[in-house]
Amino acid sequence: MATKVLERKPLSLAEQTYLPQILGGMKITLRNMFKPPVTLEYPDERPDIPEGYRGVPTLVKDPNGREKCVSCQLCEFVCPPRAIRITPGEIDAESDTAHVEKAPKEFEINMLRCIYCGFCQEVCPEEAIFLQDIFSLSGYSREELVYQKDKLYELGGTLPDQHYKWDRKREAELAGNPHH
C-alpha cells in the first residue's frame, strides 16, 4: 500500500500561541453550560427501557396461568456462567396440565452469576424464560440473590402467548382419533 505523506500545514502566529484554540474551546464549554442536562436522574426518573432490553431473566406463565417451563434444561446447558440450575420433575397424572408431563421441580438462577447475555431466552423452546426490564437487583446475602422458582415467576408474571402449543395438544387429545 502506497504511503501518502500529508504535509502538515504550518501554524500561523496566533495559532502558535494556542490562545485562539483555547478560547474557542472555552466558548464551546461555556455554551454547553447553558444547555439543559442530558442525563437522567436515575432513581427518581426511570429510563424508557427499549424493546429487547436484557434485564433480569424471569420465568413466565401463559395467559391461562400455566407454568410454561418444562425443564428441558437447555438454558442450563447454554448458560455461559452456569447461573441456572434446574431440577426436573414429572407432573402428576391427575394435574390439569398432565399432558405436559414435565415441569421443573426446582428452578434457580444465580443472579450474581448471571451476565444477562440472553442466551437462555433465545434457546428456550417453550418461550418460558424472558429477560425482562428489571435491571437493578440488590440483596444482603448471596443466598438472597439466588432466585428460586417462585421468585422468578413473581418477577416474570404472565406474557401473551402466540402458540398455545400445549393447549392445542390437549384439544387434539380431547378430540381423539378420528379414523374409525
Binding site: G25, M26, N32, M33, V38
Partner: protein, 363 residues
C-alpha cells in the same frame, strides 16, 4: 497593643478564615456543578439538611442547587475512618498535609479585600496585615505549599505519590520564576510599591478621564503570564501534573484519606481563591469599578468587599471553566512551556516595561 485591638484582629482573622474556608468548600461544590453543567449533567443535587431542605420551594431549590453538599463533604472528611498505610513515614506523612494547608491559609493575611473610607476621605484597607511587601510575602509563603506536596509524595513511600511529588516540585519551581518576573513590571508601573493595597488604589483613577487604569489593560502580557503561571502553581488543569489521575492515580495524595486528604483538598482550593484574589488586586482593579466612585462609610466598605469577592469568584469560575475545557499537558510540554516560552517572555516583558517606564518617567 491593646487587648481589645488584639481581640479585634483575632476576630477579623477568624472571620476571614471562616469566609475563605467556606469559600473553599463552596468552590468544591462550584467545581462539581460547573463540571456537570459543562458536561450536560446535573451535578450534586441530593444532599439535604433536615429542616432547611424541607422548606417547600426554597428547600427543594437549594437542594437541587446542591448548597448543602459542602456540609456533607466536610462531615465526610471529618468523620471518615482515617487509614494510615503501614509503609509510610508516619511523621512526614502527617506533617505534609499541614504544610500544604497552612501556607495556603497564611497567604490571605496580606490580601486586601476592600476599603474603608472614613468621613475625612481617608482610605483604610481591609486587610489582616497591611504589609508593605505584601506581594513578596504571598510569593514566599505560597511557594512553601510545594513542600507539602513534595513531602506528601515522598512520605507516602509509594510510587505514584512519589512521581506526583517530583513532578510538582519541578513544575512549581519552573513556573515560580515566570510568576515573579511577570509581576515586576506591575510594581514598576505603580512606582515600585510592593504593597498590594497601594497597587489597588493605584488602579482607582481613570486615565484621561475615561479609561479605567486597570493593570490588565496596560500590561496584558504580564497578566497572561501571571495567569498561566498561577494555573501551574495551583496545579490546576491543564497543569495538574502532580495529580494527573490517568497516569498517577491521584498523584501525591494517593495514599491520603479522610481529614488529611481534606487538608490537601481545601489547601488547593484556598490557593485558587487567594491566587484569584491576588490577580484581581493586581490586574483587575481590586474593588474598584470603572467610572464609579464608591461611597464613603460602611456601605461603601461592604460594596467594595462585594465587588472584590465577585471579581474573585468570577476568576475562580475561569479556573474551573478552563479545567473542564482543556486537556492536560504532557510533562515535557509543561517544562517546555515554562522554561522556553514563559520565562523568556516574562524577561522580555520586564525589559520592555522597564524601558517604557523609564521613557515615561523622562517626561
Amino acid at each position: 497593643m491593646e487587648w481589645n485591638e488584639l481581640l479585634l484582629i483575632v476576630f477579623k482573622a477568624l472571620l476571614v478564615l471562616s469566609v475563605v474556608m467556606s469559600l473553599a468548600a463552596y468552590a468544591v461544590l462550584a467545581e462539581r456543578k460547573v463540571a456537570a453543567w459543562v458536561q450536560g449533567r446535573v451535578g450534586p443535587n441530593r444532599t439535604q439538611i433536615p429542616l432547611l431542605g424541607g422548606i417547600p420551594i426554597i428547600g427543594t431549590f437549594l437542594t437541587r442547587l446542591g448548597v448543602f453538599q459542602p456540609a456533607a463533604d466536610g462531615l465526610k472528611f471529618l468523620f471518615k475512618e482515617e487509614p494510615t498505610p503501614g509503609h509510610v513515614n508516619k511523621f512526614y506523612y502527617l506533617l505534609a498535609p499541614m504544610i500544604a494547608f497552612i501556607p495556603a491559609m497564611t497567604t490571605m493575611t496580606v490580601l486586601p479585600f476592600g476599603q474603608y473610607v472614613n468621613e475625612a476621605g481617608e482610605v483604610q484597607p481591609l486587610v489582616l496585615a497591611n504589609l508593605d511587601i505584601g506581594i513578596l510575602f504571598i510569593l514566599a509563603v505560597s511557594s512553601l505549599g510545594v513542600y507539602g506536596i513534595v513531602l506528601g509524595g515522598w512520605a507516602s513511600n509509594s510510587k505514584f505519590p512519589f512521581l506526583g511529588g517530583i513532578r510538582a516540585s519541578a513544575q512549581m519551581i519552573s513556573y515560580e520564576l515566570s510568576l515573579g518576573l511577570s509581576l515586576l513590571p506591575v510594581f514598576l508601573w505603580f512606582g515600585g510599591s510592593l504593597n498590594l493595597f497601594n497597587i489597588v488604589q493605584g488602579q482607582t483613577d481613570l486615565l484621561f478621564g475615561f479609561l479605567p487604569q486597570w493593570t490588565i489593560l496596560f500590561q496584558p502580557l504580564s497578566a497572561l503570564i501571571f495567569l498561566v503561571a498561577l494555573f501551574a502553581e495551583t496545579n490546576r488543569l491543564p497543569f495538574d501534573m502532580p495529580e494527573s489521575e490517568t497516569d498517577l492515580v491521584a498523584g501525591y495524595n494517593t495514599e491520603y484519606g479522610a481529614f488529611k486528604f481534606g487538608l490537601y483538598f481545601v489547601g488547593e482550593y484556598t490557593h485558587i481563591i487567594i491566587g484569584s484574589g491576588v490577580f484581581v488586586a493586581l490586574f483587575l482593579g481590586g474593588w474598584n469599578l470603572p467610572w464609579v466612585t464608591l461611597p464613603a462609610g460602611l456601605f461603601g466598605t461592604v460594596l467594595s468587599v462585594l465587588i472584590f469577592v465577585i471579581k474573585m469568584l468570577a476568576l475562580v469560575f475561569v479556573f474551573m471553566w478552563v479545567r473542564w475545557t482543556l486537556p492536560r499537558f504532557r510533562y515535557d510540554q509543561v517544562m517546555t512551556l515554562g522554561w522556553r516560552w514563559l520565562l523568556p517572555l516574562a524577561v522580555a516583558n520586564l525589559v520592555f516595561y522597564a524601558i517604557i517606564i523609564a521613557v515615561i518617567e523622562q517626561f
